[in-house]
Symmetry: C2
Subunit: 335 residues, 2 copies
């Protein structure tokens, strides 16, 4: 079988251009005992990967130069030398960006058939969904009647955050870019208000949308959008900090310092990673799947086609060019 991988050719400054991603033809390693060969079917691209492209302390190990990039992949077992896996099994794992990976069975999780689209295992039932669930409920601790604001609200994490907040009885305001996304928040996801950060009246619209202030701000973007949101924080408000995507490709992410705002409002701002909720992952998955099947959580997905489109799909995360969870379909074998 023809195999290819994508390696980190150079560390990007700012937005990663095509020269950052080098495609290489490779051999597929023969599996040893305890290993399987997995064909990649859906590749997930996620904003946190940008941090791993830098060479410096971050929460995840930096990618190595001239080594494969990688992330969450949903795939199909094509060869197994284990007792646990058989050809045709659907699996997920954090794997290098290769068309075929030969890996230990321990690197994989078998997907239980839940009669939902497969890409959901990379979105609402995967890392983004668990991020939304843990960050909102365990750090944001929203109560019924409170106002929850979420930025990047039509994104893979934001959309789930807002829908869970609705389930919990909150007033939910989403911030996104462009009319299509904003209308999607209110029309499809059932948010109480959607605000377009690209419009000149963003600040006024935000003020109108939170007449009782903000109790929970689920932070995905940082930058000037969030500077504006912070003006409306209530006393004892909570800010789960999931991402700061506006700053990931900039070398100087500066703005108003936050200390005085936190004191004034006795507010809590807490950075988190999905890994810290790992102990509760099974319960979380079951709850999310239940909400999906009850029709309470809707998931939008942007599917790019083909291994060649990975760099462009990755950049879409930062330019707003995607809509919902961005994945790349690299094989037709599970259609």
């Amino acid at each position: 079988m023809d195999n290819q991988q994508i390696v980190l050719a150079e560390r990007p400054e700012g937005m990663p251009g095509d020269q950052v991603f080098r495609y290489e033809d490779i051999e597929t390693a023969q599996p040893d005992a305890g290993e399987v060969v997995v064909e990649s079917v859906y590749i997930s691209v996620d904003p946190y990967m940008r941090g791993r492209m830098n060479d410096g302390k971050s929460y995840a190990q930096p990618f190595e130069l001239n080594e494969p990039l990688g992330g969450h992949i949903l795939g199909r077992v094509v060869e197994s030398r284990t007792e646990s896996y058989s050809e045709g099994d659907v699996v997920t794992g954090t794997l290098p960006w290769k068309l075929y990976n030969t890996v230990s069975e321990e690197a994989l999780t078998k997907v239980e058939a839940l009669d939902v689209p497969l890409h959901l295992y990379l979105s609402t039932l995967g890392m983004p969904g668990h991020t939304a669930y843990g960050g909102l409920l365990k750090i944001g601790e929203p109560e019924a009647g409170e106002t929850v604001v979420v930025s990047a609200a039509s994104g893979a994490v934001g959309a789930v955050v807002g829908q869970i907040a609705k389930i919990k009885g909150c007033r939910v305001v989403g911030i996104a870019g462009g009319s299509e996304k904003v209308n999607y928040l209110t029309d499809t996801l059932g948010f109480d208000a959607g605000i377009d950060y690209k419009k000149p009246d963003f600040a006024e619209r935000l003020t109108e949308a939170v007449p009782d202030g903000i109790d929970v701000y689920f932070e995905n973007v940082g930058g000037e959008i969030s500077d504006e949101v912070f003006k409306h924080l209530n006393r004892f408000s909570r800010i789960p900090v999931c991402g700061a995507i506006s700053g990931y490709n900039s070398t100087a992410d500066t703005g108003p310092r936050i200390q005085q705002t936190l004191i004034k409002n006795q507010a809590k701002m807490q950075g988190f990673l999905v890994a810290q909720f790992a102990d509760d992952a099974a319960v979380t998955s079951r709850q999310l799947a239940e909400w999906v099947k009850e029709g309470k959580i809707h998931t939008e997905v942007s599917v790019a086609e083909g291994f060649d489109s990975v760099p462009e799909a990755f950049r879409n995360l930062f330019t707003g060019g995607n809509f919902g969870k961005q994945v790349i379909k690299v094989s037709e074998s599970l259609d």
Copy 2:
């Protein structure tokens, strides 16, 4: 009796000059039933008052123009029309800056004689001590063996924070300005290290002082000092945000945004006010008094003399011109 008050003559821009404080001769109101006349003995000046001089949303009501400024005062009852108070009683309260206040008995707290210097009721046993205790223990949650860094470490709050952290078995590093204060931290207060933020090698010295990173940063100053501290945060570190004194007199408190730092370290940054710990005030007072009497908490005080020196003593808080808790002695009647 000759009485005077200090009113807010204009709202300051930046550092409050003398023109902000207007002295007025006034009559002392005759007490009604249920009221007492209190002679001010020690007046406390505290950084939070600067925020109240602005006209805008803060955590405390703004001072009114042409009305008295005010804050914590320790005084002596000179006339009482209540059953609870007698002439000569020592009391504390949040009172207008007047030489004599005629107030309801409900505005006062009687000071229990604990055989300690009177100014301690405005410092370690008063608001600053309670701020240190609640912020460090309830938000910072330091554990034995962890590294605690505190800024404005020789100040009324910071000195208590560091000494409590030592009592709890932590490595304690204090940041202060000038050799005298820095030496005081290690020689008198028993900190493990003291660092002078005014020296050009501040960043290097800080790095040396926290070889295992920082688990708790008790934030009093904000600004560039804290930007540097944040580089050393550990995973799951906690930042109780008590103050940001470096920014109180500036119109643009800008710098690196904090979101990416919080995510990287899964860190928590939480603003607080001493009022939120009010339910535990009695327990806190007893614990602090015990530590003071055991010699485990030492308190330094800067005493300015005379009602006329209030404006200068207030500015000392922001220029580093004071050492320890700043109070103004306005009467000799309790010597």
